[in-house]
């Protein structure tokens, strides 16, 4: 898929003026025994209907926490949203009452989790758990709910749905369980699906099938999709645009293939360089030196500076804003941004 095709699709999905989801200056912190951990520090992104945004980052980068805040399932305490707006179809979710928020969850935005085995309740049948969506949100009868559950399971390609609807999660294989999770998210045909590492726990062949299913369903229902992952491979095939997170901030945004071709942030470049390649056989694999920062003590200035090969004094004193990235001649590159003081050097140098 070429980059022009990507942007074309993004445009056709954009029927309204306002994006489906717009996150503005989101701040989340965890108040722990050892201090306040700033997990998300001013994150901005938006997703349109039919569009796929991939949020890429390591553990502790804030990618999962920010999406949990959007979903409204942050463990609180210790987690608290301390600032920002989450505009979903024009409404700020943070201003809704708990009850209004609950009605949005599941019905209008749904989530697919990483580990389907632990994310499904072991003591209820798959059918009960799927049917629960209809029972609670639509007030369906038990019988109706079960029929709907079978329908859903067939839709996500689970063979023998009629019999398997009465089985328990542990009786399913990993891939089938993840299909159940997807079916559950899909149940009420939400406008937005957040998938948090949906394929990480799966075998590589199954990974592809599950991603394909997710992509197909997204197109069919014209849903917005936020894909949270640490796996650049998953991202490349499915996403329209990417936001790279580090220490609770977005450090780079770009349409997916542009990011691969020309990263504008040293961290992104480090990630790309640390991918093993066939043509580099025998060479030592590149690794970003150092460790992800402790969120209780985020380095001053740019959080990446202790690990950055390009770090200068300014990186230790000033937090870089998300610069709009342009070509060398000043032509704008739409959708691209980099939170690096030296983005020009990184991109063009």
């Amino acid at each position: 898929m070429s980059s022009t095709a990507v942007s074309a699709r993004a445009k056709t999905g954009d029927t309204e003026e306002t994006p489906l989801l717009q996150v503005r200056d989101l701040h989340v912190e965890f108040r722990t025994r050892d201090g306040v951990a700033k997990a998300v520090n001013g994150v901005n992104y938006s997703v349109r209907a039919g569009e796929t945004l991939a949020i890429l980052g390591e553990s502790g980068s804030g990618k999962s926490v920010s999406s949990q805040a959007v979903m409204g399932i942050l463990d609180s305490p210790p987690g608290f949203v301390t600032g920002g707006e989450i505009l979903f179809k024009g409404r700020d979710l943070l201003k809704l009452s708990n009850e209004e928020r609950r009605k949005v969850r599941g019905a209008q935005m749904a989530m697919v989790f990483q580990d389907a085995l632990s994310s499904l309740n072991p003591v209820h049948t798959v059918g009960t758990q799927l049917g629960e969506m209809y029972r609670v949100h639509k007030g369906s009868s038990k019988k109706e709910a079960k029929l709907k559950a079978v329908e859903l399971m067939e839709r996500v390609g689970i063979p023998g749905a009629k019999e398997r609807v009465n089985q328990y999660p542990h009786q399913f294989s990993g891939g089938m369980r993840q299909r159940v999770m997807i079916a559950m998210a899909l149940a009420l045909e939400p406008d937005l699906i957040i998938a948090d590492e949906p394929t990480t726990a799966l075998d590589v062949t199954v990974q592809a099938q599950v991603m394909e299913l997710l992509g197909d369903l997204q197109r069919e229902y014209d849903m917005g999709l936020i894909l949270i992952t640490h796996d650049l491979g998953v991202v490349a095939d499915v996403a329209d645009k990417i936001a790279v997170m580090y220490a609770g901030r977005i450090v780079e945004t770009a349409p997916v293939h542009e990011l691969y071709a020309r990263p504008a942030h040293p961290y992104t470049r480090g990630l790309l360089d640390s991918i093993p390649r066939l043509d580099q056989k025998g060479q030592e694999l590149y690794a970003i030196k150092g460790l992800p920062p402790n969120l209780l003590r985020i380095p001053s200035g740019c959080a990446f500076n202790p690990r950055c090969p390009m770090a200068q004094d300014i990186c230790r004193s000033e937090v870089p804003p998300l610069h709009a990235v342009t070509e060398e001649d000043g032509r704008p590159l739409p959708g691209r941004g980099s939170a690096c003081h030296f983005w020009k050097e990184t991109l063009h140098g």
């Binding site: 390591e58 991918i275 590149y286």
Partner: protein
């Protein structure tokens, strides 16, 4: 059904993807960065740099740091400090009751029968006219002796049996587990009532022996589980692959790691055994006079509780404080040794 085979779960995802990325090089992953032991969730406490130090340490270091961490945690815990001070005091009372009291618990004056607290006799007198304070002080020895020795015996026997069962598995496990089930099947108070009522001598050691006989299965179950868990750890498999002998494996690799849950259960059991001794003595099948014991005193004070509550309340108070001290200690130790609960 085709896909009903059990699936491995909880595997560290980064491991598998790194492994797979070498087989499918066009699949980009975070590659070398994945070498850091990332958790599937963004666990904040683990994103601290210290977690990297945990990479590549041996089991003995793990065990040692567990104890060090636990000790550090304990010293900061007020529950531990309070219960610790109480227990030291109680041990002193049990070993040298003379330090706290000069009157003999057996020299009694019937004319003072059931008199309330007076000066010099802060706890008053019992029906026989004995000084309740003296009897309370001297009663500590029986309770604490039973508690400490019964726990030690049950812990040793239980750890041995449970350790053997867990380590060797197979028919040894089956036999030991069944035997444990049999003793577990006897409700401890009922068993005490039957066993102790048919044994004519009621020395402290008979009661200790009885509690050990019925108490060890509880520890054995914990020990068995802990040993099985420890046995499945990678470093133990590694030690086995390197040809470590059975006894060496058990003593140097498995036991240090299986010990924590055993200690926790044993400490809490100590408090309950003291309570059990008192209850048995109360029912008339535990310790018997002339042994001085809180249980006996509470039992004999029970009939006159309405007229002379002090006779019951003082030894009962001492008993409760002792049990409380040991249970609090057990609680604190558990909190310190089980990082999951922090």
């Amino acid at each position: 059904m085709p896909d009903q085979q059990p699936n491995k779960h909880n595997g560290v995802p980064e491991d598998s993807s790194t492994e797979l990325s070498s087989a499918f090089p066009e699949t980009p992953t975070l590659g070398a960065m994945g070498a850091q032991p990332l958790l599937d969730k963004e666990d904040l406490s683990h994103s601290a740099p210290q977690s990297a130090e945990a990479v590549g340490v041996t089991d003995r270091e793990v065990a040692r740091s567990l104890w060090q961490d636990a000790w550090r945690e304990l010293r900061r815990n007020p529950v531990f400090l309070i219960s610790g001070v109480l227990i030291v005091l109680l041990l002193l009372v049990a070993i040298w009751p003379g330090l706290f009291d000069s009157t003999s618990p057996l020299s009694c004056d019937l004319s003072k029968s059931q008199l309330g607290p007076t000066s010099g006799h802060p706890f008053g007198f019992d029906t026989q006219g004995c000084d309740v304070y003296a009897r309370t002080i001297h009663g500590a020895r029986a309770s604490i002796t039973v508690g400490v020795f019964a726990t030690a015996g049950a812990a040793l026997l239980g750890t041995l049996m449970g350790g053997l069962a867990g380590f060797f598995g197979g028919w040894i496990d089956a036999v030991i587990s069944r035997i444990a089930d049999i003793f577990f099947g006897i409700p401890i108070l009922l068993g005490g009532l039957v066993f102790l009522s048919v044994i004519p001598s009621q020395s402290i050691w008979v009661v200790v022996g009885f509690i050990v006989v019925l108490g060890w299965p509880q520890i054995a179950r914990i020990a068995r589980g802990a040993v099985i868990t420890a046995k499945q750890q990678d470093y133990v498999t590694a030690a086995q692959a390197l040809g470590a002998g059975n006894s060496r494996m058990l003593l140097r690799h498995i036991m240090p790691n299986a010990l924590a849950p055993i200690i926790v259960v044993a400490t809490i059991a100590l408090g309950t055994y003291i309570s059990l001794e008192a209850t048995l003595s109360y029912l008339g099948v535990g310790l018997k006079p002339p042994t001085v014991s809180w249980g006996i005193d509470i039992s004999s004070a029970a009939d006159t509780f309405r007229n002379a509550p002090h006779m019951l309340l003082f030894p009962a108070g001492a008993l409760c404080i002792t049990i409380l001290a040991f249970i609090m200690l057990g609680d604190a130790v558990r909190d310190a040794l089980d990082p999951k609960l922090r």
